[in-house]
Symmetry: C2
Subunit: 386 residues, 2 copies
């Protein structure tokens, strides 16, 4: 029996045609170390990295591809951005829906450096307003860091406006695009984004083990990782040239080759087409789920545009039990729990029970949606009848 | 024309049968997030990680597979080990042949925390002696960190004896197995190794983007990366359970699946067989290269057993020029330069010019060796005749 995969917010699956083939080509033909030798195979490997940097630059409006650094996931990219930038005495503004990959580094710096953190909450309509961020700014505010979209409810934050605000107040602006890269328009120069962290294996349709960080020219981060770079080997310090300064150690050339094809697929399909496809499925899911007796959905009203992520619970049932039944009885892959976003759960009022999350990708269709709705109807009925 | 690949110390190539197939299986069938959902595909992904942990544990004599953490390369593993352990006031003993992935983190901690570092040199015979490490121990020595084998000359350090020494003096012992994992016997309990960093893409024959770190139970490192772990999501701090505490962010399941096959290949072939195969080629290379007029080889006498790495220069020629000619005219992939090990070059007296490195893997044979020797003969003759 085939699987209905609704866990695209964790990792997109399946991958577009060509991703696998690009990876196989590198593995078979030239899995040498890029930048670690002048021979033909190493140069070929180097070219794969550069080509993917160029594709990502097109997607994100980046002028200089060498300002994009590869990391194995968005988590390490966010750690590099946050820990490489924040200094003792800083005040940081963030949102209440952040993933643990933002919250835990911040709280670590709070404990070790004594930095202060303000978590901005959404209003009653579950939306975020510019003024609520603006009023928290103090003379010591040095960083504004927000998720572009929530990994729990899919709610979208107004990053263009926040970028404008940060620029006005000369605050560095870091965006976590874990749920938006490849789905929502991002232009780092137009939106005044100073740093952008993104995963490769979600909306960019690359394999796991890929991701990256964009850092504008004027910010000199302290490297998180020190080591060999293949350049300026004789120096005791990290080289100053980008991307080398921030890419110590052997790159995942095989994975980045796959990511390059994923990004090309996104550029070809078009961000707007992908987003509309996913959002229409999510919107219908929200509308239909909330009509089922005993089912509660979270986040703003279903009419408010979000990314393709839907969170819900069934009255009387534990979220993980529901997700387990969806998997075992209906072959529908969802995810239950806290989704690494405890503050998001406080925001949604689900901190005691978590939630079931269904997340749509470009390869989902109406049939997948119908499967989910039918299954939730049956499960909620079973729990009601007892 | 086929390529003679002699850059296995950077990345082994080709990979054994099954590595690619295991990666394709994950990509095609279940590239979901391990530990990030209870659904069938996520559990399958989780199992791949665990199975590879078990194989690695067999190889390195590790009791508890959960004490092995996956990283994208040995560099990040070494950064986690060193920066997570070293404290202000510590004295660290290391060797003069360390790669920049050890030296640069240490020098960074020297600059920022004021730790002191002693670089132990080899004697005139280019070998390292236990007494030379022992005499550097002071009451504040907290860490001994050495490469198991040099990435420049292939010289092997006496890690079993050094482990014994560290144990006697209650000093933590960290081994960089970048050039030895899969090639030389390593048993962390027998050899008193507290931490072991290793790449997946060299002697373990996995793809790039893989590697790891073993940390004994009694050492509690400060995590280098904070973020989502899929467990204890509601906690503000990193979870304390292993491996979760040290593996924030989405794992490279695809790569680790390939690594698992690579490690099985090594276990099947046998460390001793692999090492003898590579060493015999390297030994012959050393013996034959040094008979060529104008060619200088580095490291101990060719009779002293090493890993399959050979460094040389041709009189009157720049190392990178020689490597370039080997690639373009003879389709032989070697590497020229400083190999991220400036201290190693000082040790070898090649700090001003670097060296050409040829490194052998399990798939090289006598024919590859003959190609190299013949090419070096021709090139050195051309430079002699000028």
């Amino acid at each position: 029996m085939s699987i209905t995969y609704l866990d695209n917010a964790a990792s997109s699956w399946p991958k577009p045609p060509g991703v696998k083939e690009a990876m196989i080509e590198v593995l078979d033909q030239y899995a040498a170390n890029p930048g670690r030798g002048g021979h033909t195979l190493a140069i070929k490997a180097s070219r794969v990295l550069f080509q993917t940097r160029v594709q990502l630059s097109r997607l994100f409006g980046v002028d200089n591809p060498n300002n994009l650094f590869f990391y194995p996931n968005a988590t390490i990219a966010l750690n590099q951005a946050i820990k490489g930038y924040v200094k003792s005495g800083d005040h940081i503004i963030t949102s209440s829906i952040e993933h643990n990959s933002v919250r835990r580094p911040l709280e670590y710096l709070h404990k070790t450096l004594g930095v202060t953190i303000t978590y901005v909450q959404p209003r009653e309509d579950q939306l975020f307003y510019l003024e609520d961020f603006e009023k928290e700014i103090t003379p010591s505010t040095r960083l504004l860091v927000v998720s572009h979209a929530s990994n729990l409810t899919g709610v979208i934050l107004p990053i263009a406006e926040l970028g404008q605000l940060a620029k006005q107040h000369q605050i560095t602006f870091l965006v976590d695009a874990s749920q938006s890269a490849g789905v929502l328009p991002i232009d780092v120069s137009q939106m005044n984004i100073d740093m952008l962290a993104f995963p490769g294996h979600k909306g960019l349709y690359g394999p796991q083990g890929t991701g990256g960080l964009y850092v504008t020219d004027s910010i000199d981060l302290e490297p998180l990782i020190h080591g060999g770079t293949g350049s300026q080997s004789e120096a005791i310090d990290q080289p100053t040239t980008r991307p080398d300064r921030y890419e110590s150690g052997t790159a995942n050339t095989v994975g980045v080759a796959g990511l390059g094809v994923g990004v090309s697929f996104v550029l070809e399909k078009g961000i707007s087409h992908i987003h509309q496809h996913e959002w229409q499925l999510a919107k219908q899911a929200l509308e239909r789920l909330q009509t089922i007796e005993g089912v509660e959905v979270y986040g703003p009203a279903p009419t408010v545009e979000r990314v393709g992520v839907v969170a819900f619970n069934i009255a009387g049932a534990d979220a993980s039990e529901v997700s387990f039944i969806l998997d075992k009885e209906y072959q529908i892959a969802t995810r239950a729990g806290y989704h690494c976003t405890p503050l998001g759960h406080e925001t949604s009022g689900t901190q005691d029970k978590g939630a079931v999350r269904a997340s749509f990708g470009i390869y989902n269709d109406e049939n997948d949606l119908n499967q989910l709705i039918m299954a939730v109807q049956e499960i909620s009925e079973a729990f009601r009848l007892g």
